[in-house]
Subunit: 239 residues, 2 copies
């Protein structure tokens, strides 16, 4: 089946590095869904304002490009259908269908996001908590219906068994001011969103070097930081 | 993006008519996911047994075939991006993105199903509560993770505002025996599943003719029934 993007996602997240590993982890993170004109109209949004959450089905467009004979080369045998989830420290292999990894036979992502506002003039939706990076193609948007979609007590395998510890984030005042000056966004909660993203610990799980400086692309800035014993310190903001 | 089926769904539901309108409505309905060999292996299922529910992303393959220039012909203008949800009696138009209608720009379905059993030898998954008909192509399977997927208190627009009344189902004993004899399935809960499907009221919402006899394709049988004042009576079972 051939599917075509109906919308594009806009986010301060400029790259995969730092993107929350699931939707909802950074509730303060604002994003915008921009419909392609041929796939929207004010009427196409009728009734949407009654829903708190939306489902997005989207594409992992930053995966390595597919070889021409995709299915054969991606899956030379069943063994390549396993991945190393970051939740397990990147050491243990799980079957791809037991994970939300981007590296799957069809690179489709699934996220529930909170619907904050609908702009009927510009055909855009403002949403909270997405784990999509800027420029992500969206293939479908559906309403979230609790009676069919919500299973609060469902067991979640290794995800349940692996507690996740966030980081404390130190964002010095002078760098906060510099960030607001350089950022290409005027979202009111931009600093909270960035702190929320960093608190999720963007580092690969096997990294533990307090002297290593990382760079995160956020709101058009290069956010420089180091991590030492559960505390992340922003060291510089560059354009 | 081109996507390829990774699995096929097997169900007693032989056609769209009678398929539950959402996943989870008929909890007794058993289904089986049969992986295509190149998209599975025992290792690809590792870790799946810890999850209670799975997400299926699947294709509405029984929609009318697409014209060759699909996007242009399906959406000549924004006005065609509205649908008449059965929950609203089929009279009121809603924007397609506010509904789970099959008639959407990219005909992708989304269902959470309960995982009952994994057969590692045959690479099949037995699930409960699916709203997929027999032969439905599946494009992705993901684990259900409550902390990111479950929003039990989310408002659900017109779905909340429209109570749904099920039907009482009268399935005479002699026809139950005949059904079990003719059915091409030996599922233990087949009668409960059929009663659950019928209790959802498969009729188009604008139908209300007590003399009209309907036929439903279920487990290889043609289930004949009539509906009168909230009560559905099975009138015959044919092969």
């Amino acid at each position: 089946m051939k599917i075509e993007p109906i919308a594009v996602f806009r986010s301060p997240l400029g790259e995969k590095f730092g993107a929350p590993r699931q939707a909802g982890l950074v509730a303060e993170l604002h994003g915008r869904i921009e419909f392609l004109p041929e796939y929207c109209s004010p009427e196409a949004l009728r009734g949407l304002d009654g829903f708190d959450y939306l489902w997005l089905i989207w594409g992992f467009h930053l995966n390595a490009p597919k070889p021409s004979d995709a299915s054969q080369q991606r899956q030379p045998n069943g063994a390549s259908l396993t991945v190393r989830p970051p939740r397990l420290g990147g050491n243990e292999r799980m079957g791809v269908y037991a994970t939300r990894s981007p590296f799957r036979p069809n690179p489709l992502g699934l996220s529930s996001v909170k619907l904050l506002d609908i702009d009927y003039d510009n055909l855009t939706l403002e949403v909270l908590g997405a784990d999509l990076v800027d420029g992500t193609p969206i293939y479908d948007i559906k309403p979230y219906i609790p009676y069919t979609d919500s299973h609060p007590d469902a067991a979640a395998g290794f995800v349940d068994a692996t507690p996740w510890n966030g980081l404390e984030v130190d964002f010095p005042d002078d760098l906060q001011a510099r960030f607001l000056e350089l950022a290409d966004s005027s979202e009111p909660h931009l600093i909270d969103a960035l702190k929320g993203v960093l608190a999720q610990d963007p580092r690969p799980q096997y990294h533990n070097d307090p002297d290593r400086e990382y760079g995160l692309d956020f709101a058009g800035c290069n956010i420089r930081f180091k991590v030492n014993e559960g505390k992340l310190t922003i060291t510089d903001i560059q354009k």
